[in-house]
């Protein structure tokens, strides 16, 4: 069946639309609304489908809308008055909610930074070790290591 714009819609598609969006045309997809209304106006079966869907719509509409509590209205209205630090904390909270195990990551990050800082500090402050092939140095070093044995051998 074609509407005045020439768009076609069959009973199956009409049923799919109403099964998903209900009986009220204001909820139907905008691109198909006109064709669906045209189909409805010209089909007894379509009218029955809408009547059936309207029963559920009526039931769903029995749920009353909540009115925000005065406390919530006051808090929401006062959000711009919060100190800047509160907003910053919220951004941190946002980051934490977006990253799984954020607290563990934070701990690991702190520990890693401490190790890196230690390495950098150590590298910057330590004096370079000189390696010498001078035999006198080696003998002095060896004498320190074996001094007790030499003392024993030389002692009367």
């Amino acid at each position: 069946m074609k509407d005045k714009l020439g768009k076609t819609l069959d009973l199956d598609r009409f049923r799919t639309i109403v099964d998903a969006f209900g009986a009220d045309p204001s909820r139907w997809p905008e691109t198909e609304k006109e064709a669906a209304l045209f189909f409805l106006a010209n089909s007894v079966e379509a009218a029955a489908i809408v009547d059936r869907a309207a029963q559920l719509d009526k039931m769903l509409d029995r749920v009353p809308l909540l009115q925000p509590s005065p406390e919530l209205e006051r808090i929401v209205a006062a959000i711009p008055e919060r100190p800047r630090s509160a907003s910053n904390r919220t951004e941190l909270d946002n980051w934490q909610t977006m990253v799984p195990f954020a607290s563990l990551w934070q701990s690991a990050l702190v520990a890693t930074l401490a190790v890196v800082l230690g390495i950098i500090t150590g590298a910057a402050t330590a004096e370079p070790m000189s390696i010498s092939n001078n035999s006198t140095d080696w003998e002095d070093f060896a004498s320190l290591a074996f001094v007790s044995e030499l003392d024993q051998e030389l002692s009367p």
Binding site: T16, P68, V76
Partner: protein, 187 residues
């Protein structure tokens, strides 16, 4: 109602720290966001927490909003993601709640003990969360199929499928039971 041009101007001012513009937008959207969060979480206190967080984001992240989408869609998306996070945190608790609804899912006992609105809320709460979100956005919040799909980050076809499944289940649990129980149901 705030038109699109005014909405863009107000959001630009919010991004510059204008509290008056922020309050105009909060007044316009607060009730809608509370109700959407309530449809998903079925708990008033939690729904109000989510609304508070959503409007805090409006104040602190106003510059993130893209004027191509309606502000309502953006706020629903923020609230939706916060609700899904909250549901994930309390998944076991929700599973118990759904099980409790199913266990008492007998027409005569339900009709006798519950008001119709509570019965509908219980039927909504028993739906899988994505189906509940789809019904909440399209039926209760009045978002278009394209806007609701954007909020849920699904295709329009997927949204349509979620809606059809949700309405099928609700019909079975609400309308068919009403037909079985007749007038008693309305008491």
């Amino acid at each position: 109602l705030i038109d699109k041009k005014e909405e863009i101007e107000l959001m630009q001012r919010v991004g510059q720290g204008d509290a008056v513009s922020y309050r105009i937008l909060a007044d316009e959207h607060l009730r809608s966001i509370v109700n959407y969060a309530y449809r998903l979480l079925t708990d008033r206190t939690e729904a109000e927490d989510i609304a508070q967080e959503t409007f805090l984001r409006l104040w602190t992240h106003a510059n993130d909003w893209q004027p191509q989408s309606r502000l309502s869609t953006w706020l629903h998306r923020v609230a939706h993601n916060l609700c899904i996070d909250r549901l994930r945190q309390h998944r076991e608790q929700v599973a118990e709640q759904v099980e409790r609804v199913r266990a008492t899912d007998r027409p005569s006992s339900l009709v006798a003990r519950k008001q119709l609105a509570e019965f509908v809320e219980d039927a909504m709460a028993a739906l899988p969360e994505r189906q509940r979100a789809a019904i909440g956005l399209v039926h209760y919040q009045g978002l278009s199929n394209i806007e609701a799909a954007q909020v849920m980050d699904v295709s329009v076809d997927a949204l349509e499928s979620l809606l059809a499944r949700a309405r099928g289940t609700l019909r079975k649990n609400l309308v068919d039971i009403k037909e079985i129980n007749g007038d008693d149901y309305e008491r």
